[in-house]
Every structure is written in C-alpha cells, then in structure tokens.
Amino acid sequence: MSTPDDKTKGVSADTGGEDAIASFKGVDEKEQGEGPGGFVILFFIIGFVASLIIGWVVFPKLLYSQKRQPVDFNHALHVETVDNGCESCHIFREDGSYAGVPKLAQCADCHQEVQGESPEEKIFVEEYVAKEKEVPWLVYSKQPDCVFFSHSVHVKLAGMDCVTCHGPIGESTSLKPYEENRLTGYSRDIWGKSMAGIKKNSWDRMKMDDCAECHEKETGRKSSVQTDKDACFVCHK
C-alpha cells in the first residue's frame, strides 16, 4: 500500500533519527570535554564581581564629588582657647534660635590680624576678613529643607551633647573633605561614610530612621499609627 513517497519518508525518518541521536551524543561528549560550561560560570563570576566593585568602589566615587573647605579650620586648637566649649562660637542667639556656623564678624573679633603662623589663618584673614566676605563654609550636617530641626529644643531642653549627633569634631585638627552627593546636593555625612549603612557610633549617620530611633527611645512616643514611631509632623512641618 505504500507509495514511493511513504517509503522515502520512512527510510529517511529512520536514518534521520539515528543521525540526530548520534549528533546529540556528539555534542554531549564535546561539552563534557571541551564545552563552554566553565566560561558560563567564569562570566557569571566576572559579572558579579565587576558589579560589586562598581557598586561598592566606583559608584561612591562617582556619586560624591570631593570638595575642600575654603579654609582648613582647626577645631582642636580653638576649643583649647575658649571657655564655653562649642557654644563659644556656635552660639544660640538671644531669641533662643541657633546661629549655626559662625559669621565672619564673630571670627574677626579675634582674627582682625593674622595671629599665628598657620597658612590657613593667613588665607582666612587676607581672603575673607580683609575683604569682608563671608566664608562659604560647607556644612556637613545640613539636612534637607523639608526637615524642621531645632537645636534649641535638643540642646537646651533635652540637654543633648553636641557629640551625640556631630561626633568628636571638636577634637579634629583639620577639616575633612566635603563629599557632596551629586544628585541631591547634600553631604555624604547624612547617609554616613559607610555605603552599607553600618553604624558604630550615634553620629555615624543622620537619616530619618536615626532621628526616629532616638525619638522613640527618648520620648517613648509612638503617635504615628502608620510607622509606629513618633509623629511625622514633629520634623516634617
């Protein structure tokens, strides 16, 4: 009953089948012996490691620009000569508000003339005091504008120490470079030096969770139903 066509088909199917099996076996053998399996793993590792290097080493360097402060200020030296610690220069105004970084006039009280031998002081006197130009200090601790923060409440009312948030900056003899986030414009100190967010000291990081953690601990308030923490509007007015 079979037509020539059928025959041909049948034969070819048979032989074809064998060929296919043979060729499959062939491939299998090749892969076991000299296939690309090692490369697949190697490429995975290359991709994985490269990403990690980019993420942990290159990315931070790209994200943050390094800026030098206009004058390399020596905190330690100044703390030694004043009576009232940080508040000698970082004053609270008469109305209770916090003045932040001292204004030129405050510095000029003592530094009308060059007093010591420091080249930085010379720059300060010549470039700023003499020209009556405010120093464009870069503020490491500057929080985004949506955050309302009162130094008065934290320092005067709650009696917190400056070091708790700002670290032992009073002991430093020079100012570290200011690392500015190219996207947000804020300092790296807010996220923290550690990209992984590891925090050893209370001052290592100053993100919202860090504020919230302390608020929860110190005030005991959990007035926000959504977050089970202190209410949003305490800081976000």
């Binding site: 590792i45 990403s51 947000t184 990209m195």
Partner: protein
Amino acid sequence: MKIDRRCFLSLGIGGAAGLALSPIPWKLADDSAIWTQMWPWTPVPADGETTYVKSACTLCPGGCGISVRKVDNRAVKIEGMEGHPVNDGGICLLGLSGLQLLYGPTRVKTPLKRAGERGEGKWVKITWEEAISEVAKKLGDLRENGESSSVACISGTDKGSVPTLFKRFLSVYGSPNFMRMPSVLDSYELALSLSFGFAAQQGFDLEKADFILSFGSGIIEGWGSPVRMIRAKSSWRESGGKTVQVEPRLSNTAAKSDKWIPINPGTEYALALGLAGVIITKSLYRNDFVKGSTSGFDKFAGLVLSAYTPDAAEKITGIKKETIEALAVDFARAAKPVAICGRGQGRAQGSLGELMAVQALNALVGNINKEGGIFAFPNPGYMAWPDYIADDIAAEGIKKERADGAGSGNFGYAKNLTNRFAETVKSGKAAVNVLFVLESNPLYSLSDTNTVKEAFKKIPFIVSFSSFMDETAINSDLILPNHVYLERYEDVYVATGLSKPVVSLSKPVVSPQFNTKHAGDVVLLIAKEMGSPVADSFPWKSYSACLEEILGGKWDKLVREGFWTDGASSTPVFKTSSGKFEFAGGFIDLAALFAPVNAEGDPKAYPLLLIPYDSMRIASGYIGDPPFAVKTVEDTVLKGKDALVEVNPATARAGGFSEGSYAILKTPKGSAKVKVHLFDGIMPGLVAMPRGLGHTAYDNYLAGKGINVNELIGTVEDPASGLDAAWGIRANLIKA
C-alpha cells in the same frame, strides 16, 4: 572551548546579582526620593538671624506703621506694627506686598538719561554727578533768563520733609509751581479754609461715632487710612454704630453697611441739602451749636428750604422723599452722627459744593470739635524749618501766577489745582520748561490721559524721581531714582482723617539695593551744585542731617518708637472773620456754590454714564499693583487681559449684551474694548470700571491688563473752586 551567547547571558546574570548586592539600587532610590522632594532649582530662603525693623509704609497716604521681619540682611515679611495709632498691627494687601516693590524687576537701578525718542525706552546710564550737574545747569540757565517760574514740580503729597524740601527749593529758586496730585484732600482743605477759616486737614473721630452717613466713601475700600477704617467698621459692629452708604453701586462698603441707598451719580450734594432741609424743618438741629458757633445759617436755611425740599431732592437724587425724611431723622437723632464724603478712596476731588453740603450736615448736628465728631487740624507744625533767603529773582518768581491757576483769579482759596495743570500747559496758557515728578505718576493717574500726554509733550525737560519704571518715568528725559520706602529715612505725616495728628518715621529696613539716591539728598545736591544764592538756604550735609535738625526733640522718639502723636484738641476753634463756623464759606450766591455738576458729553450720543470705582485689591495711586495683589483681582473685574465693566442686567439687555460679551466703551474722551459683567448691584444706565488697571509700564504682571479709566474720563471744572468736580462721564456701549 568556545565563548557563546550563554556566556554573555551568564555575565549579565552575574552582573545583576552583583548589582543587587551593591548599594547602587538602594542608594539611588533613596537619593532620587530626596532629589524629587527637594528639586535643587526650587529656591530655598537662606537661614539666618531674625530681626524686626519698625518703619512706616508710604505706599498710600494711610501712613500705617510696619514691622519688617528680616533674616540676616534680607527683608522677608512686612507686618503691621503693634501699638501704632493708625493700624495697631493690621496691614493691607498692598502693604503686605511691598517686598515685591523692593526686590521686583521694575526698579530703576541707576540714573538714566533718555537716548531715543520720549517713551521709546532707550536709555543711557549716567553717573549721579553727571545727572545732578545737568539738572543744575538747566535750572541755572532758566533762572538767568528770568524764567525761573517755568519750573514746576508734581508731588504725590505736600506733607512731610521731602516734599517740603522740593517746595523750599522752588521758592528759593523762584517758582510758585509746587503741586500735589489731586484728591479729595484738596476739597477738604479748601472747605476747611472757608468754613473754619484756616489751613487745616480734617480729622474724624469715627471710632467713637455712632451713625456714619457716607456719601459714597469706600469705608472698607481704601478711604482715609484703609486699615484704620476697616477696623473702625468692625468696631461699629461691636459698639452698635450704624452705617448708611449712599452710592449708585453696591460696593463692598455698601454691602457691609446697615443700609444702602442707591443714588443718581453726582447728586450726593442734593441729598445732603435735602437732609439738611428736613433737619431744619423738623427743628432737629443742635440749636445751641448752630446759634452759638455758626454763621450764615439763615442764608443756608433759606436756600435749602426753598430749593431742596424733599420733593425737589427726590427729583434730583432719585431717592424717595420718605427715605430722605427717615434718613434725616435717624441722622439727627443719633448721639454722635458724622457725615463723610469723597467717593471710593477719595482719588477724585469732587465739587466744593458737595463738600460744603456734607460739612453743613455735620454742623447742623453740632458734632464739630467733639468726641465722635470732626476736627480741623492745623497744617503740621512738627517740623521746625529755618527761614530761607529769597533773592530778587526768587521773590519775583514766587509772585507769578501758578501754572495750575491756584491761589489767583477765581481760585484764590485753592492751594493745589493740579487737575488744571495739564489743560493750561496743553493750551499754552502756562509755559513749563522743567517738570520734576516726585513720588507720583501723573501720566497715568491724572484724568484725561491724552491731554496730560499732550501737555507733557510741550514740556522740554522732565525729570522723574521715581523708583520704578512707571508711565511718567518712561516718558521723562532724566530719571533720578529714589530709594524705595524700605531703603530710606522719611517722616510720614498722616493727613487722611485720623482723630489726632500722627507722624511716623520710615526707616531704612535694608541698605539700598541699587545705585539709587534719596530724593531729599538729590535736591540738596542740586542746590549745592547751583551755588549761591540758592545753595545758601540748604546748609545741610545730607537729607538725614536735615531731617534730624528739623524734627528737633521728636527725632529720638521717632527713631525709638517709630511714631509721634499729639492729643486731639477739643476746644472749638474757628478763625473765620465771624469767629464761627461758616455755612456759606463767604459765598454770596449759595446757589452757585451748590450748582449741579453735569457729566461731560451729549446724552443723545452717550446715553449711559461711566463711573470709576476703587478696590482694595487694585492700587491706583503712584504705586502700581504688585504681583501678589494682581493675583487677587476677581475674574469679574479682570479676566486675562480683558477689563470687565459692571452693567445692570436691564441695561445690558437693552443694548443686547450678555455676560462676558465684548463691547466698545465709548466716551467723549476715548474708547476701549471691554467685556460686560452683569451686576444687579449697579443702577440701570450706569457702567462701572475700576481704577488702577490698564498700565502700560511696570512688569508683565501688571502691564497691558485691563483699561486705565483715566483715559476715558475728563475733568469738569467746578466754577466755584476750580476743583475737578467730575464724578463720571457720559458713555455708550457699542457691540464689538
């Protein structure tokens, strides 16, 4: 071994796995959140020390005390000064917006000299030395040629030391032509000099009054001192004081009054005389005061009883005689009734007859020089000026007739008739070679703008002292920009009807932002440059030294507290020849004094009447509306760039107009394309339009929006006084 497609897939998967374990996604997500919530291009005001500077507002004649909040050297908010006798902590919309004038883009930043044609806007920057020597040379030449009286000055006010310095300069130089911008204060001053017998400003003890009859005065729309008046309005609600508003249109004041009486526009004088007639007929006047302290009562009574009977008054005013009779009784029976006038904010002078009629009502109820009544305060004497030395040229120049005709001929009593100035200059009756423009914008604010423009074309040298590129500054030859009020010292005398005289001190809140100079200093410098004899009468080193000297003992108090005030005098003082209040004010023919003022135009060609109105949201004086204020103007007043006019639905229907339809508003003075707004609160036959729009100068927030009503309205000279008696003009609305 062969690298194929799967190797690269694997690389990608490895990369993705590594990426997930790196900080990139998490950190970027966090940073983008911060970035998007605080776009770096959104301006954030700099933090700094907060301080307050007490000063005074000069944006309108109200004279409020202000307290300006500063952060470091930047002024950030203007608030009302607590405890100030005018506004006690309150502030108006314009006052609040003052910072936009200080920091806004319309400031003139340096002295400018015209380079192209007038009004073309082409300027060259020049130094102050060049500018001052140019003015001094021009003035010197004119003086040598005996043309000193052809120098004129238009000022926003004549009170205070800076206008006085300009006036003093003109006197020493030899010109009588110091003029101030017209307002109802001119009429009040003229009426007071006739009925009280001395140069004075009218004071109203309105807070203590219990019945306020207002002849169209915008009590809560900027009449007098706006903040003080709004507070007075609130105080009447508590004290039970009644207000009756007589006005052709339901203004905000009318809406907030106890009673609104619509009246045919321009016939307020007839109502006042009609009321007086009823009060006299029913013997409701205060006999003791009228008999003891007034003169000319019989003559006055004779006129009103014959010509202004309730029936006659009804015919003229359109108010039912029963209403007139009832109002007269209510007014006369109140314990402390006061009648006030000056339409809207009092920007127009009005006829002398109208003012004398209203004043007669106050005299009939005897509430003059009494608590809750009206007072006449002598011209401010708080400044002690040393005498000036007038040489022959000056003495001769001062005697010449003023360019506006005030003080001579038919207008012997008038001090300022600036409303006539444009016409006399345009027609060539007065020759003006140099015009100083101080704190005013006559090319915009004077009625009949086209005539003013023509007149200005005839003046060869116009010097503007404006801080802003306003219409007059653009059309001047030289701009010597003044500091704005937040940058300068200046005494601010309040002449707008307070119950006692108040002087405040405007102080520099911030240092001058641009290369501007105090107009007071500029006058001193011009005098100095001109040398003796003019300079001899200006011995001061600077304006502030001058101010300190002339204020004497008051200077320290003004610097410390920001204001100085004098207790109101309660002794009745009349310095007329009779020693009494003059009903007739020396007029022999009372009927001429109380003559009707007809609107300009042919009633057949112009069947309707256009009346201007004032709004607290639109500044219509020297200061143009700042952006904050423009934003508050309702869609029914200004829609996009279109001006809307208020028309009664019946009138609109007769003309075939519906809400929002375009029309050409035509008057004898000009025409403009407007939109129709149907308003039940306006009497049929009227078209109402706000003052203060239609600027061509200033910034994009203001320029080109709406129509300047002054372009459509002319002046109507009051034959009795020379004042501009116009209250409106005949008009027609034609389908556009």
